[in-house]
Amino acid sequence: MSGAGIKVLYFAWLREKIGVAEEDIELAPGIATVAALTEWLSASSPRHEAAFAAGKTVRCAVNQDFAAPDAPIRAGDEVAFFPPVTGG
């Protein structure tokens, strides 16, 4: 990853709905938080929009730590979106 890029990962039904497991994104100016990134991704395709429409049931991790909507996003980050976990 170079420049203002981040890596975005999707798991479980988010992965299935969006149709990709992973994508490299160029961070547009102003996309500085999880909430802003979510909004930007939702607008990027109907599949993304449908997946993120689940709203409250989508969880996020930044660099493999759970992250709230106001958590910052920086170039080089690994950002993952997924449903609430159901292991064990």
Binding site: A12, R59, Q64, D65, F66, P83, V85, T86, G88
Partner: protein, 155 residues
């Protein structure tokens, strides 16, 4: 100190217990929880359970859960193993072992570890029903409540 592993193979509780206790004589007891795949879900028969995880974050979160348990109880070791992939009814999914000089510490740490693993570790289950349809398992409020009784916010 903790043994953390994600694997596709069946979990062998005998071998894991032997590995945890090998050469030691300071352990008073080992608590454990072994999760297995039930053949029904919501009253419907299932043919398989498929487990997906987030490689990297999984190991980090399991290590954090184990470190928290080791901070709370006088543990002499613990083991967290979770399977991924397609599992059949009756098969093992998850194993938690906690060894301590004292039995209540071992048993409480075991309960803590499995409660937290269920709410904090990035695993997702999908059930395949006999009718041919599949469904991602929804998170259970009961699991969040179980984690919350240990006084850490469940996320």
């Amino acid at each position: 100190m903790a043994t953390i592993r994600v694997q596709t193979e069946a979990i062998d509780i005998g071998a894991e217990t032997a590995a945890l206790t090998a050469g030691r004589a300071d352990i008073g007891g080992i608590g454990s929880f072994l999760g297995t795949v039930r053949d029904t879900a919501g009253g419907r028969k299932i043919t398989a359970m498929s487990l997906e995880h987030y490689p990297g974050m999984t190991e980090r979160s399991l290590a954090a859960i184990a470190a928290e348990a080791e901070a709370r109880w006088p543990l002499l070791g613990c083991t967290l193993i979770h399977r991924v992939g397609r599992l059949l009814p009756g098969e093992t999914i998850v194993l938690v072992l906690a060894a301590s000089p004292h039995r209540h510490a071992a048993l409480e740490a075991t309960a803590f570890l499995i409660d937290f693993l269920k709410t904090k570790a990035p695993f997702w289950k999908k059930e395949s029903f006999v009718e041919g349809d599949e469904e991602w398992v929804s998170a259970r409020d009961a699991d969040d409540s179980a984690a919350a009784r240990w006084d850490i916010a469940a996320r």
